[in-house]
Amino acid sequence: MQQFIRQLAQENDFQSTCLLKILRAIQARYFHIPKAAIEQLAPILNIPRTQIQNVIAFYSFFHFEPRGKYDILISSSITDLMVGQKELIAYFAEKLGVKIGEVRADGVVSLNNTSCTGMCDQSLAGLVNGYAITKLTKARIDEIVENVNKQLPLEQWSRDFFKVEDNIIKSGLLLNQKPIQGEALKAALERGLKETWEEISVSGLRGRGGAGFETAMKWHYASEEDAEQRYVICNADEGEPGTFKDRVLLNSYAHSVFEGMTVTAAFVGATQGFIYLRGEYLHLYDKLEAILEDRRKANLLGKNILQHGFDFDIEICLGAGAYICGEESALIESLEGKVGIPRNRPPYPVTSGYLGKPTVVKNVETYFAAANIAIHGGEWFAAFGTAKSKGTKILSISGDCVKAGIYEYPFGTTIQTVLDDCGATDVLGVQVGGPSGTFIANNEFGRKLAFEDLATGGSFIVFNNSRNILDMVHNFSHFFAHESCGFCTPCRVGTSLLKKQVDKIVEGHGSAGDIVALEELCQLIKNYSHCGLGQTAANPVLTTLERYPELYQNMLKKISYEPGFDLDKSLETARRLANRDDAAAHLAQVEE
């Protein structure tokens, strides 16, 4: 092992910024990060061992204790639950002979739940040793169990398991483009970088990752900063449950995305770019590497690009299971080989980002759009959309509809139009923008996709009338508590309290004061949290409580108070040890 680690560190130039990459390799080989590896790495990377321990403890895909040789994770987002995730994972566990969350005694296999893997249009999905598997059915599970028990190498498993579909159902302005490799970059260089910036400005392109910051302004700020080095980062963390459009863009439009990054780099004067790819998209890694290599050969990356005297290259960095790393400053910390804790702002990344240098962070779709705008001009793009939200938006549609997949719409399109297109009937409501977004009820379908109305990073989950909204709220509350980075008090403690409070109500133990307590907690988390995660973590409760107060009220018992823990269960140990089961050895949860 010593030699393996030494070599690994060497391949990464002993750079501590490569810590995640190094740990990914160790985890893959030893199914955990052995203590000895930590001790060996710390001095040669010149970082304290605690930094390595922190990183292992922070990211879901690193472990101090060995996982199975086959580490199987099953996506447990609301869209997975819709296709019977609970039953299927239980089936899986039973067939494998392992408890959920644990490693089988022979060390061969481990099984657990994981946050949304970005395959909501081909649920039930999961990961085997980091590689995406889709459309899990009992039959497929049986086959996997057989492979595992035979210890068949992953390469020999049926390729069908690993098939990830694009499912582009409705293309629009951008998805219809089939640009020739290099076209955007050449157009930008021919037009002139300043002029291209003006086109971006005219296009009104706002960030597609959620916050909607104007792209031209970000370029401008980053280029203005006085610095000897600048960076361009593509945010492909795509962790918001229900979002999977960046995966499709990277699978089928990667050249355009890289070209958008390269144009950005040329304008702001960056020589190094990164694409921060969520660990769940490991299956795209080799393909993207190959495309980068192609581009280097074509002189679209590397030194003196297209003989225009500028240098730029792109490195792919994989995440390791942490939703918070989609937040741009946490992402930068992660790229620096650290835990993904959002920074204090100001300063913003455009002035002080990666390694303290000016850094542009943009979403995959934003670069994709920018590349096309470089070719076709700003007016072409701005002709679509609304006054405040120009152009089109790519949606990832999942849940209760006939055709889940990728849809592109001009901003300003009504929710009803979208629902009609994807074949959603008997709709109860739609979660727009993922758990951090808004739940809208079926009397609001005249509302529009737009930054000024319903903003969304792309997640669009449909719920029909057979669904219980509280199941969704329950699922999302657990998601946020699990993904909170824990830096600030209101979110660290608050999301866990919120999870408990939602559980209490959903499980039918709520009483008169519990909704007031719930709301109060939500407001605290929302108003006092450090970053967007905490600030939106209460949205599932707040947006549904506002629309369906009676749904919550109906869950409450008509009593003034009920304990938040199970009283009778709390006597279980004592009953067992005293060998009693008489009436006095039990407690009613509420007073009779």
Partner: protein, 240 residues
């Protein structure tokens, strides 16, 4: 000289470029409740107790730069009620049994709670199982009382030139860890005279055999408010 100023609760407060709201306020004798902030170290911005409203928007005073045109509210019922709830979150997250804590009466967490008029813990307790590390001959860690303010981490790095502590884990699983192969304090290079051994605002890091030198009832916050104590200490350290 400069004549830039911000307004805090209706009062004009001068500031210099580069100062945070907290620094300007402290220098002007205005107390903003805080736990993770200590003027001697880089601000951290994690406890959120110092939240003030800047032109209507919540900001952490310890990290947010003061700038012209800021109209800030600090002492309002709304803010103090919410600060109390944030403090209560810290109390239920850890295991704070003040009557059996050596730090009682000298503890900033407790004193902030007193200041905010907190009489109960409001939320359900986590009652998490946390450990005590008594391995070091002179210093002990009681993880039950750690609020993850990172002051010990910062003090060790910035003042002692060491790297004894770190905060590890995600979300509610956060824990203080010690930089030693065994993970024990005795095997770290912490010395009892290190700043990091004395900086803890709570009773999570204690110096052994000193706990009851001052009897309960005669301790710092038994009679003095945290606002006056803090302004006396931290105001002074700013003037240097």
């Amino acid at each position: 000289m400069n004549n830039k100023s911000i307004v805090i609760d209706g009062k004009n407060v001068p500031f210099e470029d580069g100062q945070t709201i907290m620094q300007a306020a402290t220098a002007a004798g205005i107390y903003i409740p805080h736990l993770c902030h200590n003027p001697d170290f880089t601000p951290h911005g994690s406890c959120k107790l110092c939240t003030v409203k800047v032109n209507g928007r919540n900001c952490s005073a310890c990290t947010f730069p003061a700038s012209e045109g800021q109209n800030i509210t600090n002492v309002t019922k709304e803010l103090n009620d919410d600060r109390e709830k944030i403090t209560q979150m810290l109390f239920v997250e850890g295991n704070h049994f003040c009557p059996s804590c050596e730090k009682t009466g000298n503890c900033n967490l407790q004193a902030v709670a007193y200041h905010l008029g907190m009489t109960d813990n409001h939320f359900p307790h986590f009652f998490e199982n946390r450990e005590v590390d008594a391995s070091h001959p002179d210093v002990m860690i009681d993880h039950n009382r750690c609020i993850f303010c990172t002051l010990c981490v910062r003090a060790s790095q910035q003042e002692d030139g060491k790297n004894v502590f770190a905060i590890s884990g995600r979300g509610i699983e956060k824990r203080l860890i010690v930089n030693s192969e065994s993970g024990l304090l005795k095997d770290s290079d912490l010395d009892v005279n290190d700043c990091a051994a004395h900086i803890c605002p709570t009773g999570a890091i204690l110096i052994k055999r000193t706990g009851y030198k001052v009897p309960i009832g005669q301790r710092i916050f038994d009679h003095a408010h945290i606002d006056t104590v803090t302004l006396a200490n931290e105001g002074a350290s700013h003037d240097e």
